[in-house]
């Protein structure tokens, strides 16, 4: 196994196919789009690569920066909620009995087997004005009202359905729903590796469960927490379908703007510039994290 690098023919045979695939269908298209970001529309379908920075300049206008900022906030909130909800879930799976563990993990991964579009439409069915959520709350409201009349109190007015769909709330809820597994799985992996006797040692030394969680479990699971944050935050930042279907007029995210440039606005160079700006931002975030991890390693 060690000298596989030396048998070049074999190495080439194995590596050629994936390398070709990556080059043809990933690097080349990316390169083309990257070049477009320095171009101008010459005709309806023609783009002239003129080396201009005008697209980037336009992308940095307050209107678009605002949408960028908003996307960052929405993705940030989504990630925070995923972490708060996902951590106890991951912890519960780690401490579940061996009989239950695979089923719980399957439950976390099950949504991956269903198309995102279908899941999003299902969520719409729940959140609509006449949806299941409103129906349930309305039913509870009516029962509560009749209970009040029963004991002689004035009944509250008719139920006003909550506006749960087509707003930022729906977008965040949808993003959390979609991205929760991305958070739970790395957390689970990190927590499962944790030496149980460390937790027992902390309890033995007088710490309760909460302090053990904060002082021992969380710091030791930090690498898992950070990778969970990254792989939740990055796709949430570039989310397109969820804000498009669940969001209102004011909840569009950067991916929706990009899509519009490529389609309705037919401004590919500007769309390309926006795309790459998003990518630069993501890369910088990951690079900073990697750098910090390296520093921490040196210190440790």
């Amino acid at each position: 196994m060690e000298d596989w690098k030396r048998s070049r023919a074999l190495f080439a045979a194995v590596a050629t196919a994936p390398l070709t695939w990556l080059t043809l269908f990933f690097i080349v298209p990316m390169g083309v789009i990257w070049l477009y970001s320095f171009g101008t529309n010459a005709g309806l379908t023609e783009i002239e690569i003129s080396g201009t920075l005008a697209n980037y300049k336009k992308a940095l206008e307050p209107l678009y920066l605002g949408i960028f900022a908003k996307s960052l906030v929405v993705a940030g909130i989504t990630t925070a909620i995923c972490l708060v909800v996902g951590f106890p879930v991951a912890l519960a799976i780690v401490f579940a009995s061996d009989k239950w563990k695979p089923w719980l993990l399957l439950g976390i991964m099950l949504p991956f087997w269903t198309n995102l579009l279908i899941r999003t439409y299902a969520l719409m069915a729940v959140l609509r004005t006449e949806g299941y959520a409103n129906q349930t709350i309305g039913w509870l409201h009516d029962r509560f009202g009749s209970l009040l009349t029963l004991v002689g109190l004035p009944a509250p007015g008719a139920y006003e359905p909550l506006h749960l769909l087509y707003n930022n709330f729906a977008v965040v809820l949808g993003l959390v729903y979609v991205h929760l597994p991305f958070m739970v799985l790395p957390l689970y992996a990190a927590l499962d590796r944790l030496d149980r006797s460390l937790i027992e040692a902390s309890l033995d030394l007088g710490a309760g469960h909460l302090r053990t969680l904060l002082l021992i479990v969380a710091p030791l699971a930090a690498p898992g927490i950070i990778s969970g944050i990254i792989i939740t935050f990055v796709p949430a930042l570039g989310a397109y379908l969820t804000p498009d279907l669940l969001g209102g007029t004011d909840s569009q995210m950067i991916a929706n703007v990009i899509e519009r440039q490529f389609k309705r606005a037919n401004n590919w160079p500007f769309g390309a510039a926006l795309s790459f700006l998003l990518m630069y931002a993501t890369f910088i975030a990951i690079a900073i994290q990697a750098l910090k991890a390296k520093q921490a390693e040196k210190r440790g």
Binding site: L198, E200, S202
Partner: protein, 377 residues
């Protein structure tokens, strides 16, 4: 010791794990006295660690009661018990310095920063780690990590210190050194130590009293020397030290003498009585170091045996089938004339022994009338 109240009282404790065919700990009762160095000894799976973890509070007894200093521990969680544990893996927190590790329990208890500093320093000095407070655990050797775990528990001034296989991860030299240090440390701090081990040398060298466990049960509870010289049954005789065991019939049993007829060994004479029914099946245990080897043919073995036993007892003849030189002693595997194998050890008193035995040599053996132990089970 009997006038003191036990620091730990284990009463009819049973632990049954879900799905396990038999109980891990089966109706065990033990009293452990303050200041004792108590060892739970047994092979893996005998229930010793489960018992220790029940004292610490990490396992809940299926039935029975555990009292620490007279208090029932049934409803007390691990973090509220006046005991501390040194884990087999040491469980030193990898993201904290040595000083932070040792001070962890005190910080949780809300002790002032000044007092933490001085008590941590004191504890580190006790385990000979002074000057290493700023080190991270991954910069320490295994032995040092263990000392951190020890200091981290001792700094809490527990009523009882629980040690789970404390020396198993150390190399032989360090282990021998730590055995002495642990005994010394226990003497110094005066805290009750309860240690779990599968290593009989470790148990014999450190313990004040040893409970030998087998299949969830206490097979014998005794001081180290008594355990070795007066094992209560075949399990203990075999587990603690090396032993030859022969089945036989009790032919004579009086207060000051007894005789057992062993088909595999010969006639065995004892200068004390045993409490068994005449003609019943018993086992004779004979330690390898308690058998004398002789060059055959001169009747030396017979004469030596006759000094404290009637003629025809306490000697045997055989042929050396194997030997291993261990430096301080040489171990011989001898096939007796009746076919059974017996192990005999002999100290190497001088560099060149005049009666140097080797493979296939014929030898005679004798043992004294106070050497064999008769086991009824």
């Amino acid at each position: 010791m009997s006038d003191k109240t036990p620091i730990i009282s284990i009463r009819n404790v049973t632990k049954r794990f879900k799905g396990a065919p038999s109980a891990a700990v089966d109706d065990v009762s033990l009293d452990i006295m303050p200041g004792e160095f108590f060892v739970l000894l047994g092979p893996s799976g005998c229930g010793k660690t489960t018992l220790l973890r029940m004292i610490a509070g990490f396992e809940i007894p299926t039935s029975g009661q555990i009292l620490i200093d007279g208090q029932d521990m049934a409803e007390v969680p691990p973090n509220k018990r006046p005991v501390n544990m040194v884990f087999q893996s040491y469980a030193v927190f990898p993201h904290m310095t040595v000083a932070q590790n040792v001070g962890y329990g005190l910080k949780i208890a809300g002790v002032s920063a000044d007092e933490i500093r001085s008590r941590v320093a004191e504890a580190l000095e006790l385990v000979k780690l002074d000057g290493l407070d700023a080190r991270m655990p991954d910069q320490l050797s295994g032995g040092q990590r263990q000392r951190v775990a020890l200091a981290r528990s001792l700094v809490m001034r527990p009523k009882v210190l629980l040690l789970d296989e404390p020396l198993s991860a150390l190399d032989a030299k360090l282990r021998a050194q730590m055995q002495f240090e642990l005994a010394d440390l226990q003497d110094k701090v005066g805290i009750t130590f309860i240690t779990v081990t599968h290593d009989q040398d470790e148990a014999l060298s450190m313990a004040g009293r040893i409970a030998v466990m087998n299949k969830g049960d206490v097979a014998q509870l005794a001081a180290p020397a008594d355990l070795y010289e007066y094992p209560a049954n075949r399990f203990v005789a075999d587990f603690v030290g090396s032993v030859n065991i022969f089945e036989g019939k009790l032919t004579l049993d009086e207060p000051d003498k007894a005789a057992v007829d062993c088909p595999g060994l010969g006639k065995v004479w004892l200068n004390h009585g045993v409490t068994g029914a005449h003609g019943s099946n018993v086992w004779v245990a004979l330690r390898p170091e308690k058998i004398y080897l002789h060059v055959p043919g001169e009747g030396k073995a017979v004469r030596a045996a006759a000094e404290d036993a009637p003629e025809g007892h306490n000697f045997a003849r055989g042929q050396i089938k194997g030997m291993s030189y261990l430096g301080d002693i040489t171990l011989y595997e001898i096939q007796l004339d009746c076919g059974a194998m017996i192990r005999v050890s002999r100290p190497n008193l001088s560099r060149h022994d005049q009666e140097d035995f080797t493979w296939d040599d014929r030898v005679s053996m004798h043992w004294r009338a106070d050497s064999p132990v008769v086991l009824l089970s």
